[in-house]
Structures are given as structure tokens and as C-alpha cells.
């Protein structure tokens, strides 16, 4: 896990001029890179085309094809997407808040306290990196039934709230904070919790941002567990709502299905396009562990 210990670098906007190496054709490579890039966005461009044009143009390409928002309007009215969005926002917020609190406390304990059982407990935490909640759907469903939480937003989020990944990531960050700051705060009369709040949390802000972005996109996109544990409009997140919608209601009206698909990913996609740099940097930061 600690294979790459160095701090993550920021993506440099400009690369410094470096002498060129011999061999290899740059023009050919640029061409290949662009071919791959176009290939990569082709499915998305195709989806955009279909969603913004009348159904008769959904599989036909004509420059004169009229643009329309009808598909989006139809999709929005065909299923309770507003409610699904609300559920997803509630889910993502709830999971993130719970994760931040739990992960901060646990990471602090692992980073700055010595106590019996520390290594065993840490190994138990790391076990979740491999045995993720996604693999335990059968038993977790049983547990939710016993707890009477089936078909609630809480049930979707609960298995993910204590995040091994978050604990690990934040522990690494906390460990890089000089102990002198910690001691100074204690001399000033801070309790450990106050020290955590006033020294550690502010200094770990970039890690929090990285973790938050990764967590939000993970839970916005999560599908299998919510599909299993929810059963009603009141608790379904937008991914499950989209699946229920496209599998049952629409037959094969692709214009409406692609419109609904873009609709459901819209907020995340817009957020990504606006904060592209932060997203990419966050994923980089979160990946280096």
C-alpha cells in the first residue's frame, strides 16, 4: 500500500522544454492519439446527437436535422426523475458527511496514538479494501432486513460509511503533519479533539477534497447494491431509476432513453467539465497510496 510514498505532484499546465529524444515519429503519434481520442468520445457524441434530435434522426445523420429538447422533456415527465435526483443528492451527502467524520476520527487514532491492538485493528480496516461491500450483497441484504431498513436511503449508504480507503488515505496525510504542531497545540491547552479540529483537519484539506470528489462520484454512480436494497420511488437513486425507466417503460425509444441517460449523468458531467483539473488531480492524489 505504501509503495508510492511521495506527495502527489500537481498537473503542470506547461511542460518545461526538454531536449527531444531520437527516434519515433511525432506526427504519426499525434494522429494515433487523436484517432483514439475521437474513438473514445464517439459513443458520447452519438448519445448527444440522439438525445437532442427528433426520433426519426436518432439513427440517421443529416446536417439539417433540427435540434430539439423534446426528448428531455418527455423523459423528465415519464419518470419521477426529480425525486430520483433528490434521493441521490441525499444519499451522496449523507454518505460523505458520515464518511468524513468517521474516517477523520479513525485516521487520527491510527496516525498519532499508540495503543494495544493497533496493528490488528488496522489490518481489519484494510480487509475492506479487498472484501468490498459489493461482494457482500447477500449478507448485507439479510442484515438490512433484520434492522428493518430495507428500501431506505440509509440502507444504501450504511455499508460504505466506514471507508477503509478513506481511513488509509487520511492516515497517510496526518502522518506527514509535523508532530511539533501537535505538541504546540497541546501546550496551548488543546484537548486531542481540539488539536484534530484546529491543526490536522485544516492542513489535510487537499486530501479531503480529493476524497470527497472520489466518494461523490462513486456513490452517484453506484448501482448494484441500491438496485437490490431499494424498491420504491421514495428511495431509489437516479442510477436505479434510470434502469427501471429504460428497462420497462420505454420499449425501444432510444431518443428518450439517451435523453434520460444524459439527464441522469448531467449534474456530475457538468461538475466534471467545470472542475476538470480538480477532479483529475483528486483522482491522482487519491490513487497514490
Amino acid at each position: 500500500m505504501s509503495s508510492i510514498a511521495s506527495a502527489p505532484p500537481a498537473i503542470s499546465a506547461r511542460s518545461t522544454p526538454v531536449p527531444a529524444l531520437g527516434g519515433g515519429s511525432h506526427a504519426l503519434e499525434t494522429l494515433a492519439a487523436w484517432m483514439l481520442g475521437l474513438l473514445w468520445i464517439l459513443p458520447l457524441v452519438y448519445a448527444f446527437w440522439t438525445a437532442f434530435h427528433p426520433p426519426e434522426f436518432s439513427t440517421r445523420f443529416a446536417l439539417a436535422a433540427p435540434w430539439t429538447l423534446d426528448n428531455f422533456i418527455k423523459a423528465w415527465h415519464a419518470a419521477p426523475f426529480a425525486r430520483y435526483f433528490l434521493n441521490t443528492v441525499l444519499l451522496v451527502t449523507m454518505v460523505l458527511v458520515a464518511q468524513l467524520v468517521l474516517v477523520t476520527l479513525a485516521a487520527y487514532a491510527f496516525a498519532r496514538f499508540t495503543f494495544p491492538g493497533r496493528n490488528v485493528l488496522f489490518a481489519l480496516v484494510l480487509a475492506q479494501l479487498m472484501i468490498m461491500p459489493d461482494a457482500l450483497i447477500v449478507e448485507n441484504y439479510r442484515t438490512m432486513t433484520v434492522l428493518g431498513l430495507k428500501d431506505t436511503i440509509l440502507a444504501i449508504g450504511l455499508p460504505y460509511m466506514a471507508s477503509a480507503f478513506g481511513i488509509f488515505l487520511l492516515r497517510q496525510t496526518f502522518k506527514t503533519i509535523p508532530r511539533e504542531l501537535d505538541e504546540a497545540a497541546r501546550v496551548e491547552g488543546c484537548t486531542p479533539l481540539q488539536t484534530l479540529w484546529k491543526v490536522y483537519v485544516p492542513l489535510a484539506r487537499p486530501t479531503y477534497l480529493a476524497y470527497a470528489l472520489v466518494s461523490v462520484s462513486y456513490h452517484w454512480n453506484n448501482f448494484l447494491w441500491p438496485l437490490i436494497v431499494t424498491n420504491s420511488v421514495e428511495s431509489r437513486p437516479v442510477t436505479v431509476g434510470l434502469q427501471v425507466f429504460s428497462a420497462t417503460d420505454q420499449g425501444i425509444d432510444w431518443s428518450i432513453i439517451t435523453a434520460a441517460t444524459l439527464l441522469s449523468t448531467g449534474p456530475l458531467l457538468v461538475a466534471f467539465l467545470l472542475f476538470q483539473r480538480q477532479f483529475v488531480q483528486s483522482f491522482m492524489r487519491a490513487g497514490i497510496r
Binding site: M1, S3, A5, S12, S15, P19, L21, G22, G23, G24, A33, W34, L36, I41, P43, Y46, S58, T59, L105, A106, Y108, F113, T114, L121, L124, A127, Q128, L129, I131, P133, D134, A135, L136, I137, V138, E139, N140, T143, A162, A164, I167, S217, W220, N221, F223, L224, L242, A247, W254, I257, T258, T261, S264, T265, L268, L269, F272, F283, M284, G287
Partner: protein
């Protein structure tokens, strides 16, 4: 603080996270093992101890073996390809290439989208006769083919979706590693007159080894964890050609409601994942300390 008070403090800090981990990770893993030795309760009939019956069923279940085999092919087909692509992409967008911003965006965007949305788009892409793939291939005179409907092409079609979705994600890690590499290495190589290929093979690739191993572990986990696209696009069909292990667990557990058999199947998945963890712990951790 006295020592015992510090211990207590640390344990209190850990308590909430450990309690949730115990309830939703450690307990279910153990309970799963326990329940795999019982029958599925049906109506008024409670679960009874059946020993290894579920496992006996499992060994004799051709669909299980097919799902396992599919999953191995799926892993073999997606992991090397997406890692190589990720590396190539990272090298391209790390260099001075024209349109670098666009390329980064193009490669990375699939990663941000939910698999379920992506699956919808690809389902349309693969549609017989109308889909874009068919239209493009039609131009080149390739006869029409039902990509998701035929046993031979359905699993490869799913692999394409997975590679498309994941390569950009892994690219990010390579990009991070490349940017932390000292430019002096490159300068020195240029002065020595090394070719790009030589530099890549003898300098870049070895230095990227820890990243490759990290990406590899993640790729293996994802190959067994992510089945959203199967649910949306093929439901394991045609004739179980695209049934992956976790999808089969889902089907047995939540479509046929045979929770005991699903527990036995889950044990196979857990053993596989534990195996990955063990390999990582014994093998990878030791080999990657030179950075």
C-alpha cells in the same frame, strides 16, 4: 495524558468506524460462511443444516463453472488491454501533443460516468441494424451481426465496454507517476543519444513498475466487482455467455431468492479476492520499494 487514558481515547476515536466495519464487512464475511452450510428457508420451513450440500451443488452446477470461466476470460481480456492503453494514453497526454486538453478530457470522461448510463449508450451503439456500430461496419461491407445476441461476440462486446470505461481511470495514475519523474533522466538520456523507445523500455517502464502493480490490483478487483453493465445490457445472456461471477450471485440471490446457494457462491468470490490480497501482500509489497 496517562497511558491508559490515551488508549481509551484512541479506542473511542476508532469505535464508530470499527463498529460499522464489523457490522458490514467482518460480520457478513463470517456469516456468509456460516449460512453457506444451511438450506434456504422457504415459507414456514426454517433453514436447516445441510453441511456441504450447497458446495456440492456448486461443483455440479455448469452455470457456475461457466460464470467463473467467463469471469477469467473477461479479466484476461480487459486487464492487460486497459493497462497498456492507459499507459499509452498517459504518455501521450503527458508530452507536448497538440490538443492535449481535449485528449485528456476524451480519455477520462468515460470514467466519470455511471456504468449504468454508459451501458445504456453502448446498448444503443450495439443495436442490430440501427446502431452506430452496424452503420459504420455496413459502410465497409461487413454483414449485419447481433453483437449482444450471439454467444461468440457478447462477452467480447462487454469487454470493449469495460476497457473503454477503465483505461482513462488507470491513465490518471500513470500520469501522476510520469509527472513525478525527474526531467533530468530524460535530459541525460537525450545527451547519451538514447532513442525514445530505449528510454521508455529501460527508464520509464521500470520506474512505473509500482504504478503498474497498483493499477493491476485495482483492475483485478474491478473485473470481479463491476457487473452493472451485465445487468443492463445482457442479463448474463445469451445462454449465460456473459454471466460473470457477481452477476450470477445477484441472479441466484435476488432473482431466484436462493440465499443459501448465493452464500456458497459468494464464498468463491471472497476466496478469489482474498487470494488477490494475499498475492499483493506477499509479492507486490516487497518488490516495489525502490522508489
Amino acid at each position: 495524558m496517562t497511558r491508559t487514558r490515551e488508549w481509551l481515547y484512541a479506542w473511542m476515536l476508532l469505535l464508530p468506524a470499527m463498529a460499522l466495519l464489523a457490522l458490514f464487512t467482518h460480520y457478513p464475511a463470517l456469516a456468509n460462511l456460516w449460512h453457506s452450510f444451511f438450506s434456504t428457508p422457504k415459507g414456514a420451513r426454517p433453514a436447516v443444516f445441510v453441511g456441504l450440500d450447497n458446495y456440492r451443488n456448486l461443483v455440479e452446477d455448469p452455470i457456475f463453472w461457466q460464470a467463473l470461466q467467463n469471469n477469467l476470460w473477461y479479466a484476461l481480456g480487459t486487464i492487460p488491454l486497459s493497462i497498456v492503453l492507459a499507459l499509452v494514453m498517459a504518455i501521450w497526454v503527458n508530452g507536448r501533443i497538440r490538443g492535449r486538453g481535449f485528449l485528456r478530457l476524451a480519455y477520462f470522461t468515460p470514467t466519470i460516468l455511471p456504468m449504468i448510463a454508459v451501458a445504456n449508450i453502448w446498448l444503443f451503439f450495439y443495436t442490430p441494424q440501427y446502431g452506430l456500430l452496424e452503420q459504420i461496419l455496413g459502410v465497409f461491407g461487413v454483414p449485419s451481426h447481433n453483437w449482444l445476441g450471439s454467444k461468440s461476440s457478447a462477452l467480447p462486446a462487454m469487454m470493449v465496454v469495460a476497457v473503454w470505461k477503465e483505461a482513462g481511470f488507470f491513465m490518471i495514475f500513470y500520469l501522476a507517476a510520469l509527472q513525478s519523474m525527474s526531467p533530468q533522466l530524460r535530459e541525460a538520456a537525450a545527451i547519451e543519444g538514447a532513442s525514445r523507445w530505449y528510454f521508455f523500455r529501460r527508464v520509464t517502464l521500470p520506474l512505473l513498475m509500482p504504478t503498474t502493480l497498483f493499477v493491476l490490483v485495482n483492475a483485478v478487483i474491478n473485473a470481479f466487482r463491476l457487473v452493472d453493465h451485465i445487468v443492463v445490457m445482457t442479463r448474463g445472456g445469451p445462454d449465460n455467455a456473459t454471466a460473470l461471477l457477481l452477476y450470477y450471485i445477484y441472479e441466484i440471490g435476488f432473482r431466484f431468492w436462493d440465499s443459501a446457494y448465493a452464500s456458497a457462491l459468494t464464498m468463491v468470490l471472497l476466496v478469489l479476492l482474498a487470494g488477490v490480497a494475499l498475492v499483493q501482500f506477499l509479492f507486490l509489497e516487497r518488490r516495489t520499494h525502490y522508489q
